[in-house]
Amino acid sequence: MAVRVSDAIHVDRALARRILGGDETAFRGLFDSFFPRLYRFALARLNGDHEAAREVVQRTFCKAIERLDTYRGEAALYTWFCQVCRNALIDYQRAMNREARTVVLLEDQPNLRAVLEAFVAPASAQPELAAWQQDVRRLVQATVDTLPDHYSAILEWKYVDGRSVDEIARQLNVGVKAAESLLTRARHAFREAIMALAETPDALRPPSEGG
């Protein structure tokens, strides 16, 4: 069973209260979980500039913590941090006197279903299509980043590393049935997350289809 959004937000509000109350375990847990995901989120929007990504994510954490008492649970806490990160990106570009050259990402665009179907086709030799496939690759990774840590880990172990369920069960110190169950829930969560992006109209199609 996937985690219900309302439950997750209830837990996120409790987490925010604990962090504001001075609970170091809660603070460190949040940092360990959010930092890699926010870093990738920022890096993708800064054309791969690592130094800029570090600075933006640093500002994001400082700003988000400063304003954490305004978090009311309207969205998941990670989503809320992403919004703070978007603002930090804009501020960074302004401060650097950069042209407001927003990197337009696939997940910021409508409709992805056709994109995803084409993406899993063999890699294209056409440069345009290859670049587009690279974008979708990053989009899939960004979607994995929106999942709880243990879901994203098990999906990568299984489908990137090719580990068997038995191996995953041993890694997690759980039974095979429990690992299977966790994998099923992780797949379901991924499917929901990526299809939520695909539900809007105006298809974004690969270059070969005239998009």
């Binding site: 069973m1 985690v3 439950d7 837990v11 996120d12 409790a14 987490l15 209260r17 604990r18 504001l20 109350g21 001075g22 375990t25 809660a26 603070f27 847990g29 940092f31 979980s33 930092f35 890699p36 990738r40 990504a53 570090r54 994510v57 640093q58 400082c62 913590i65 008492d69 995803l116 179907e117 993406f119 899993v120 979708v136 690759r137 899939v140 990774q141 994995v144 709880p148 840590d149 243990h150 999906l155 990568e156 299984k158 489908y159 990137v160 590393d161 068997s164 369920v165 997690l172 110190n173 759980v174 039974g175 429990a178 690992a179 966790l182 994998l183 099923t184 797949r187 991924f190 499917r191």
Partner: protein, 339 residues
């Protein structure tokens, strides 16, 4: 989850479904540089400490200002002041027998009767012989107290076990907010997303891990317990590792104070998942048709105050399904046998 069925061990090849192919093709996510992690952690920690300090100062200031405003009334009110307001971190959920509470180490014990009572950080709880209690932390973690147990709810992430036996279920979501530690003089057990039990009585200490992993920190070093591990520390400080099955009868006491899920208007599969987790038995279906029924049969009513298997019996009574407990450690769901 019928729409998401798959063979978990399908090889990475052309037969894989879309989810598998997408993740496989996208590849592993890149880890940020360690230097960026350290630098950002240092800044974020400074910001967090400043924020916590600022809030404490502000609360102090607000308290002082308020006390000035009401200074004229203090003499009248002081005798009737309620206890200092401390944020609640948990609520009572199931109480069996005599369970008592006191707000701090110097307060008097009073009987806890309200099964929905909010519990503040710092609360002391104790169960008498033959009694049990189930409480639920704000984070959703289930804490269950066996009889003759005395604990201090130090915070939403820390429980001090003075004496007795506690069982914790932090759920399967692995959310960082649900991390919790059980502190005793003999060692501290920290969960890594799990179900576990700690017993501490006199010099006897025992940690049982039913699911997931637990880190046991002692002066002598750290030990990790995985699912099925039972770590026992004897009077001389020696540690022994033995095994305990997930469905061992030793776990049964926790079922009587398990927090019941809301199953009204929910599919039978939700109830089955809870029963499986609480009993340590996997659910198996007699036929694919029965599994489909479990996902489409909608339940009505409440299972509060029922143990998991009692709840399953009650809810299946209104369907054409029944359960049996075979020797293989599963709960087998099947069509009722017509006589």
């Amino acid at each position: 989850m019928a729409a998401d069925r798959h063979d978990p061990d399908t090889k990475v090849d052309d037969d894989m479904d879309t989810v598998a192919r997408l993740i496989h093709t996208a590849g592993r996510r890149a880890e940020p540089p360690a230097e960026a992690f350290e630098q950002t952690l240092a800044s974020a920690t400074d910001a967090w400490r400043a924020k916590v300090h600022q809030r404490r100062q502000r609360n102090l200031f607000v308290g002082l200002a308020a006390s000035l405003v009401v200074a004229g009334s203090v003499a009248f009110l002081v005798a009737n002041l309620p206890p200092e307001s401390v944020p609640s971190v948990a609520r009572a959920d199931r109480l069996i027998g005599t369970v008592e509470i006191r707000s701090d180490a110097n307060g008097g014990w009073s009987t806890l009767r309200d099964e929905t009572m909010q519990l503040a950080a710092g609360s002391h709880l104790r169960t008498h012989a033959g009694s049990r209690a189930g409480i639920v932390l704000d984070t959703g973690v289930s804490v269950r107290l066996a009889d003759a147990t005395n604990v201090v709810l130090e915070s939403g992430s820390s429980l001090r076990l003075v004496t007795g036996r506690v069982y914790l279920d932090t759920g399967e979501t692995g959310h960082v907010a649900r991390r919790i530690q059980v502190v005793t003089a003999a060692g501290t057990a920290r969960d890594v997303g799990t179900q576990f039990e700690v017993l501490y009585r006199g010099e006897a200490y025992r940690l049982r891990v039913r699911d997931g992993r637990v880190l046991l920190s002692r002066d002598a070093g750290d030990f990790t317990g995985g699912a099925g591990d039972q770590l026992t520390i004897d009077a001389s400080g020696g540690l022994e590792r033995t095994r305990i099955a997930q469905d061992d009868a030793e776990w049964q006491w926790v079922e009587s104070v398990a927090p019941a899920p809301d199953i009204d208007e929910k599919p039978l599969s939700v109830l089955l998942e809870w029963v499986a987790r609480e009993t340590g038995r996997a659910v198996a279906f007699d036929k694919p048709e029965v599994e489909r029924k479990a996902s489409t049969t909608i339940l009505h009513g409440s299972i509060r105050n029922l143990t998991p298997l009692e709840a399953l019996s009650v809810m299946l009574a209104t369907t054409d399904l029944e359960y049996v407990l075979p020797d293989d450690g599963t709960i087998l769901i099947r069509l009722k046998v017509t006589r």
